[in-house]
Structure formats: structure tokens, C-alpha cells
Symmetry: C2
Subunit: 728 residues, 2 copies
Amino acid sequence: MSGRRAGVVLALLLSSSLLGDEGQWPPDQLASFDAKSWAALRARGLMFSPADLWDGKGGGLLTGTIQIGGCSASFASRDGLVLTNHHCAFDAIQLASTPERNYVRDGFVAKTRAEEIPAKGGPSRALLLSRIEDVTERVRGPVSAFAAAKTDVERDAAVERAKKEIVAACEKTPGARCQVASFYDGLAFELQAQTEYPDVRLVYAPPRAVGEFGGETDNFRWPRHTGDFSVLRVYVGPDGRPAPYAKENVPFHPARFFRVSEKGVAPGDLVMVLGYPGRTQRYLTASGVRNAEEWFYPLRSRTYADLIAILDGATKDDADASLRVSTHVKSLANVETNARGQIEGLRRNGVLARVAEEERRFAEWLAKAPSAAAAERAAPKALEEILAKDRARQERRFFLEETERNPGFLFSALQAARWAEERAKPDLERDAGYQQRDVARARDRERNATKSLAPDAQRKALAYLIAKAMKASAGEPIAAFGETFGRDASAAAIEKRLAQLDASTKLADESVRLANLEAPLETLKASGDSYVRLALALSPDLARVRTERKALAGALLRARPVYLSALREFRAANGRLLYPDANSTLRISFAEVKGYAPREALLAEPQTSTKGLLEKETGAEPFASPARVLAAVRGKRFGRWEDARLGGVPIGFLSNADTTGGNSGSPAVNGKGELVGLNFDRVWENVAGDFGWNPERSRNVMVDVRYALWLIGDVDGQAWLVDELLGK
Amino acid sequence: MSGRRAGVVLALLLSSSLLGDEGQWPPDQLASFDAKSWAALRARGLMFSPADLWDGKGGGLLTGTIQIGGCSASFASRDGLVLTNHHCAFDAIQLASTPERNYVRDGFVAKTRAEEIPAKGGPSRALLLSRIEDVTERVRGPVSAFAAAKTDVERDAAVERAKKEIVAACEKTPGARCQVASFYDGLAFELQAQTEYPDVRLVYAPPRAVGEFGGETDNFRWPRHTGDFSVLRVYVGPDGRPAPYAKENVPFHPARFFRVSEKGVAPGDLVMVLGYPGRTQRYLTASGVRNAEEWFYPLRSRTYADLIAILDGATKDDADASLRVSTHVKSLANVETNARGQIEGLRRNGVLARVAEEERRFAEWLAKAPSAAAAERAAPKALEEILAKDRARQERRFFLEETERNPGFLFSALQAARWAEERAKPDLERDAGYQQRDVARARDRERNATKSLAPDAQRKALAYLIAKAMKASAGEPIAAFGETFGRDASAAAIEKRLAQLDASTKLADESVRLANLEAPLETLKASGDSYVRLALALSPDLARVRTERKALAGALLRARPVYLSALREFRAANGRLLYPDANSTLRISFAEVKGYAPREALLAEPQTSTKGLLEKETGAEPFASPARVLAAVRGKRFGRWEDARLGGVPIGFLSNADTTGGNSGSPAVNGKGELVGLNFDRVWENVAGDFGWNPERSRNVMVDVRYALWLIGDVDGQAWLVDELLGK
């Protein structure tokens, strides 16, 4: 990009709308905004300078935000309390539960710090950002392997190799977890170093009937009355350094934390939503949007809906099995609902037409822009060719990958086979996720798999996926499936055959699965286990699919960075600043507490309360509040948390923050830096927001921290915890 | 009731709130309101006096409202055009359709009067009110059979007999259709005489995708974008008198009609909704509300949902069968959705608690009121005893009655058996619905049954109901079922047996069914038809169920009128006037165009337009508008019907009119007496409104007449019809 020219254009055209409510800004981009933007934010109540938020050296208010179990979270006391969503801590709550102590159903309350229990599963590790470093030069500079790559696969491998080397060097520091993140689809790369804290404990979780109030019915909906929060605490060794769980560990004292606000929010308030948004696709071409709208999401929605029906049907008369598949079903349901929302949102928001129009104007500009290089002019066509070629194979790949990730015996066997193959390579040449650094997580997964083992249900789901994969691979059959299942590729026939495999496999035994994870290929081959045999036979096909993905990635690395660079220039020429797509790195979104018009003749106000909870209450799931909550609401025992205007304790609120998946658990912070709520969802009309922000409909859903304080203090009587959150 | 005392209380306490928006007022009650009420209505824009609305002699503005096919409707031109709902004219549209001319799918457009076609089925007869006469004295006066009755069955028979005599005398006038309606559960009786016009023709119907836009998804919902209207015309003989269809017939010139408004409505406007509401239960005791909430509606919802699933499942691969059961499925779906709404509404509106509280205050008042007679004081207890006794048998009755009314061979056979039995009695002693006057309708039903015959699907539904009935009758087995189906009372076994019956019955033949309707019992017995045999065997059980119903009715006639009379006095003492429950007689509701808050944090505005139609459009049912409509909306070809504030042609609007089933097709008339819309639904939150009006949530849904005019004139090019509706 022609920096000088763009700079002039910026100075001429950019107003304070630059830092509008659209944008998931990386910390290091904040310093580049103009004074007018900051003045506008100060006028809205922001009491911080850009440098207060992020000092460029790993410090600043933003670092109160952490990552935990794939979610965002925040420090909320000087003694290391962490707030995140109930659904982000769900693994920990479920894994700590037994039929006798059902924390999922009843909630978890530590009455003292001594009663705080280790969080297992996803939420067992807290990741705190420590450093950001631009590594573009090392990854793809003129003297890199990237520059020298002759094929797409080589190009991808070069980038992956460089990333791994950088990560490996970074992770030599004890407790460091590092990643190299791609910005603008490979135009820039940043090393993001985090410190991992492996002793996280569960402090408070509401009953599921609070944390998931409304269930799937209300998922992605507004008005909302879900208490989707949990309280954790990070512990460190007596020396103050990250340490695995030990009795003598002490609460961590984070450099930055967000004191919880007693005042809460009101419509019009400024809020900043901080977190780790996972992935957006704001800069797709029209053909990409069309593919998402017409192929990917419809197929995902159908497939996941079918899987949910299969798992529900197979466990409906078996409470134990039903509990075992619940995490999987929940995750499928969430993704399925999201997929429908994407389809509906893309259609209703007319994203395709808008993107097509933008593409047309971009092409016009590109044809005339004096600054555009030949490569930039050629980028759109090159990009479309890559995509068209890939789409011919996408359905086969879809079902093979879904088969590969379906929880159960085959998954464990494939993991073992994969580890055996990757372990044979030097660490740095292994695929991401199969390096020495990933061993602990793989073992955790197998341990947790014991709790979610439900062979009868998982077999039915697997049979369904294999049948689909076989059908989608008619032109290029999958040998392993042909050998194992013969000619009758019906789900019923496949399931019958899988039942035979189930009868002879040893993989129900956790110790066998753990041993397999470390077994060399020869040992696996010799084991003769029915599923290990199938996995080994299937591995070449899955490896080819991975190579296909790598070739695609390498090809896109040719075209997308050039395309994005040209697009950034085009936008700047029109007075609009490009922010990078979400990539699971720390971002900040500036927003306002604000309602919206979901559709014609409906207005959504931005706050809900216990009054609306009572309206929804039916006594039956998903609208069955726990007795103690109901009694407090009906008895109007709201204590100091009553909001007279709302007629009860505030529960949910909306803002126009720019969020996506991964922002779950994100703190919403007011202009004073106080925590006022936790992000946990988007509204239905904004699910397709990943493809484009919309001022009318981009709204995220948060739980008001006052609801949490009321439940913890007034309903469950833990005044000590409320005091700690309030900094008293 | 102590009239004098109540009168004094009224004069002291009643303000203009008397004629508030609650109340479905009978025409003859209007004159009894005070001057203040009328002044308030005039201030809101009403340009009529009570006598203008209803002159007490069968004339007045209200008589522009008619009854058609169980719905309400209105005259809308001097040449007898009639406006009603699409769903009210649906039978006629469907029965006129063939695979080649699919009026259901494409809509029906008569380009000239000559192209107007006879409306068959339900909408083939228009009923115009001609006279109201108080007949309480004759039905239940001191010298009546009612007064002399010694048993509950006798008491019911006495009332039925008296009603039939009055109706028979009334119907000696050619073309007269008469009914005796009970007010306040038998406290008063009125003869309502209507003139029947048997030549009704279809003039215009929108495509189903307009008339049912949103389908079940939007049923009972707001915001709404359904063009639920159709245009019919009443014809009479050249002499101006009612006459069956004949080529030489001419358009009817009604005494009153509502000119269609060009201006439409705006929020805050006064509207009157006129029509024939079917049934409300505003004066139930708490035990009655509980029975409705906890037994009746849940059972109905489950049963009908099962039936829908059975019929859909049985016809999903057979387009023809699917079309044949569509009317039945549609009606089941409507009732099922309604049942769920009732349950949810009763619960959410806390009706039971409110009724219980009112009951408590009523009991208190009753204990102390000097005017209350001993019978009045005893009425609540007597009533509860009757109800408790009846509830012990209600589930058995429920399934037997559902079995009896399930469309198909058994239905036809039972009808034939019933007619044979009833025909043996003198006309006046027959049960309602089986008198000479009902023959034509019974024959119509059998003729229409040919079009909806779908033996495979209907058999499955019947098997399901019989299995349920057998289960609910375990303590008192149904002999005919035991004989026919043996011991295995599973639906599968029953269906197998029914398939044998299907194989040998002759009832698929319309002429056989029509002949059976007139056959004496001996002929039926001799016929040996498989279903006729089952029907004859089942008849005694069904007759006992009817007797049970009659005994209940007779018992309630002891208790309910006294109870209602006392309640009326109690209400008057508290400044509230009692209006009678809906009973399918003409009523008027005064209302305002007004939004509402469906629940916390949501506001519903009272108007929708083509803008929102486009938002909902998905291209797939139930949101797939016809191409010509979509093109006009997308091209913004709104003509003079655009409402700039709404951004398109207005489609739906809300008011707080007091409506219920039977009000479908009701005209909404502005203060000048111009027609501005047609009622066709209520909002979900108001479905339980039958048990109590609620100012916050009682909203009905109407289609704006401007949408109809735009579709007819601008989209379908029938300017002549628009001109006629506008009186040009």
C-alpha cells in the first residue's frame, strides 16, 4: 500500500466516524487513530488515552482480558477472580459433577476460598497476553522460504514452518503459550505471546436453569434472561509464578483487573467489549458469500440438525447416556442454530448484493488507480480461479472432516494414528496441534472422553456421517470405507457393521486410549483393535484431504494478501479504514448500550430484568428457574440490585459492539474501566454479522453484572464473593 | 337481580369507562349505555348515535355485517360485494380448483361480473340478520316445560324443544334461518332471525401465498403480513329475493353496506369491529379455568399435534392425498396452535389467580349482599358439584367425540346412522343439526367429502383416536370397539383391522353416501357395509355420550343462570357492567388502532407494510410471495396506496378490539362507517383472551383494506372492482 498517499487521504477524509461502533480493533491499531476520534470517545465517557488501553509493551487496561477454554474472560479482583460465561465454564462444572453432587443442575457455590475446586477440561488453563511482535518479515519477507516457494503446498508449508519456529523459540520461556497470527489473510503476521496459568479453580456457577435459561429456544434471541456467567479464580505457586494445581498455591495477583461496577448500565452508555473474537469474513468476494449462503451453511445446518436428532433419539430413554452426549449436542445445537442464522441473516441483510456492489466499485477503482500494481489488478481474478477449483471438492471434504471429528471410538483411534504419524517427524515439521506442546491437551481430551462415552449414540452419528461421506465420494471412493462397509452404503447397514467393531474394540478403556496416544505406528498396526484398524485404513484419505487444505491455503496466500492490500487502499481512498478480520487475537470494540428494530413493527429495548424472567417462566425446561431464584423474584427480594425503571434486577442488555464467536465471556467495561457485563451472544439478526457489520442490526447480548451479584450475594448468600468483586 | 338498587349504583358509579374497549356488545345493549360513554366515543371520532348503529328493529349500520361459512363478513358495495377472509372463502376457492385451474395456488380473478363463479362449500350461503326478539319467557318462563322439568335431561330437553319450536315457527318465512341464542348461560334467550342468500359467488381471491403468507409460523403472531381477504358477491333472483344459483340472478342490493375507505387507518384511530364472535368463557369459576388450563387444552394440543403428524406423514409422498387432507390439517393446525396459545396465555396472564381472587370477592359480597336470594347464595357450590361430577368422565367423552368427528368413512357411516335414528322422530324432537332444515348441509358435506377423501391417511388418524378412546374407556369399555378390534388396542393393530374395513366398504362412492343419508335404519342394517356395521354398533355408546352432555347442560341450566345473575349484580355494585359471553350472535366492539408490549423489552407497533413483507420473504413456504407481488414490491409500484410513513403499502394493523373465533372476516369500520380492514386473527398473547380481556395484551390482527385494493387494482389490474369497492 502506498502509505504516503493513503495518509494524505486519511487526513483529508476521516472524521470521528473512523472509530465508530464497527470494528474489532487490535490493540496496536488504537494508537493510529486521529485525535478527533479519541475526543469523540472521551465525550461519550471514556476516561482513558490510547496508551492507557494498550502501552505497546504488553501492558494497559486491555490486559485485564484473558482467554480461557476457547472463550474470553477477565480478571475481576486483585486476588485473581475471573469472570466468564457459564457456557465457557460448563466443562469444568460438568466434569466436577457426580450424580450425588450435581453442579450442573444445582450450581456450584464455594463458601470460602478453601472450597474452590480445580477446573478441569477446557477452562483449566488461563491465558494472559504478554507480548505482541510483528514477525511479517520473518514469515514472508524477501529472503524467506515463503518467497522461494514453488508450489502452493510449499508456500503453505513455509508459512507453517516459520510460524512453528517462532512459536517454539517463544515457548522456551517457561509458561509461555505463543501463536503467530495472520492479519489480513497473510499480509502481516504477529507473534502473540501469552502466559499460561494452569491452576484455575471453580468459585461460583449458577444452576444450569439460570446459566442456560431459555436454552435453544432463546439462543441468539432477544429479549434474553440468561444468567450466562461463572466465577473462576487463577492460582499460582507460592512464588507467584504459573504452576499446576497444588494445595499450597495462592491466588494470582494480576497486573490489571476490572473492578465490578455497582451502578450497572443504562441505555446510551459507552461500553468497551474486550476479548478474543475467533473469525470473521468481512472481506469475502461475492462468490465466497454466495458459497457460504447457498452451500456451506445450509449443508452444515442440515447435517448438524440430523446429528442432534440422532443423538437425542438414541439417548432419550437413558438419562446417563443423555448426560454423556449433552456437551456434544449442546455444541452441535449452537452451531446449527448459528448456521440457520447465517443463512437467514445473509439473505435478509442482502449481504450478497452489497458485497457484489462493493466488488464492482473496487474493480472500477482498481482499473483506474494509479497506485495499483499489476499484481493488485490481477488479484481478484486469480482469487476466483483458486476458489472455483476448490469448490468442486468441498462436499466430499466436508463429510470426511465431520466423520473425523465425530466423538467416539473412531475419533480416538484416528487421534492415535495421527499422533503416531506426526511423532515420527521432527517437532517443528509436525502439523499444528500435534507437537510436543499439544500432548497434554490430547491426553486431557481422552480423559474427558471417558465421561462422555456413549457408544450406542455415537455409533449412530458416525454411521450417518460415513454414509454421507460415501455418497459425496462416489466419484472418488474412500477405500477404507469400501473395505469395511462393502456395497450397502446405507446408514443402517453401516451402523450394523460398526456395532461389530464396537463389540471388539478396547477403546472404551481410558488407559488403552492414553497408551495409544503414545504408541508408535507399528504398535498400533499390531494391536488389531477394530477401530484402530479402520483408522489406519482411513488415514491416507484424511491425509489427502489435509494436503488439499494446505494447497488451498498456499494458493490463497498468493492471492488474498495482495487482494486485501489493494482493498485497504481502495477503502482508505473512500475514507474508510480497514480493520483486520477476527483471528482469535485480543480486540477491542467501542459500543453503546442500544436497542434495535429486529424487523418491521417491532422495537427491542436494550435491557431486561427479573420481571421478564417471570413472564417467561413456565416451570418446564428451558424456562424453569430454580426454586430459590423464583422465590426471590416473586418475593421481590431484590436488595440493592433493583432497577426501579425496569421493575426488578437487571438481567440482560444489548449493545452495538462488534463481536463474534470467541467473544463469549468478554467483559463489557464502562468508560471508567469498570466491568458492567459479560458478552455471551448476538441477536439473531446479527448472526450473519461475520460477513458484514450493520449499524441497524449488529447487536450483541450481555448479562448485566448486577444479576450475577444479586444471585451470588442475595440468592446464594455469598457476601464475601460480592465484596471481593466490588473491591471491598 | 334487584334492578332498582343496581340502577342507583350504576348512576352513581359508572363513568365513560363503561364503554371501554373491553366488551363484545350485543346490538340491543347499546341503547342502555349512558350519555357520557357516547360522548366519549363521539370525541374519538364516532359519527353515529346508538340508534344509527342498531334501530332495534333489524336496521342500522350493524346490519352491513353478515355471516358466511361460520365467519363474519360484510357488504362492501351497493351491488352486494362481500368482503371476508381468505381462510373463510378457502372452501370455495379449493372446491372450484382443478389441477389445471389452481385458484388456491394462483388466486382467482373475475375480470368481469360474468366471470364470477358460484361459491361452493361453507361460503355458499350468506346470512343477514333481520330480527332480534327476546324469547326468554317462552323458553324458561314460569309456565314453561323448563319450569316443570324434574330431571336435568328433561330440563335440557325442554329448552331444546322450546328453541326448536320457536325456530320452526320463525323459519316458516321463506329464506329465513333462525336460531335461539342463550345469553348469560341461559338467563335470557333471544330469537335471532337471519335471511339466507344461497347464491354467493367468488369474485376475487389472492393466491394462497398472499392469503396465508406466513402460514402456521405466523399464525397468531405479530408483526403480520398476511393478505387474508377475499371478495364475494351475493346474488338474488330477478325479483330481488333470495334464490339458489341461476344464470338470470342479479346482484343483491343490501340495505346497508360499508363503503371502503381510501384513507386507511393510523395509530390512535377509532375502529369498530363488527361480527359474530363464537364463544368466550369470561365468567368461569376458578375450577373451570384450572380444568381448561391443565386438562382440556393440553389434551387437545397433544391430540391434534399427533393427528397432524399422522396426516402429514401419511401423505408426504402423495401430492394428491396431501391436497385432499389439507383443509382438515389446516383446521387441526389452527385449533392446535390456539390450544397452545390458550395454555401459555392462561399461565402468563395469571388468569387462574385473577379469577380465584374475583371469586373470593364475589363470595364475600354474596354472603353479605342484602339483595341476594338464597338460590344465589347457593349457586357457586351447586355449580362446583355439577362440574366435579362431570370431570370424572370427560376424557372418555373427549376421545369418543373426536373419533366421531374424524373425517372419513366412519364419519359418513355415523352420519347416516344418526340421520336414520333422528329421522324416525318428529322433526321438532330431533337433535339440533338433524332436522329437515339441515338436510341440504349434510348432503353438501358428503359431496365435499369426495374431494377430501384420503382413506389411507384418514384410517391412520382414526386408528389413533380409537386406540386413545379405548384406553380412556378402560373402566367402561366401548362394546363396538371391543368386538371389532379385539384385545390388542394398539393403533397399529386397529389400523390393520380398519384396512380390512376399508377394503370392503362402499362409502368411497358419493352416491352411496348420499343414499345412506336418506336410508332408514333397516336398510342400513341390511346393507352389511363394513363401516356402516361399525357405526351402528358404536351408536349406542355415542348416544350415551350425548345424553351425558344433555344432562350436564340441564344441570348447568339450574346453576349457571342464577350464578350469572348474582355475578351481574355483584359487578354492577362495583361499577362494572356485565356483557354476555360470545354466542355466535352479532356483536360490536369499540376499539383503537394500537400497539402493545408483547413482553419485557419488546414493543410492537400497530402497522406493517410491504417493507416488512420483503424482510420476511425467503422464496420458500410459508414466506414465498407470488412473483407478480414481489415484482411490484421490489419495483416500488405502490400506486396511490403507498403510506410514506411505513415505506410501502400498508398490510396489517392491530387494535384492542375484543374478538374471538367467529370474528374472522369481521369488518373494521372507522368513525364514519367506512370499512378500513378485516379482522382475521389475534396476537399470541391474547389467545387466552377468551377467559378474560386484558388491556395490555388484548390485540386483534387485521388486514388493511388498502393492501386488498392494491393487490386487486395495481397488481391484478381489476380497476373496475376497486372502483366498485370505493363506491365510484
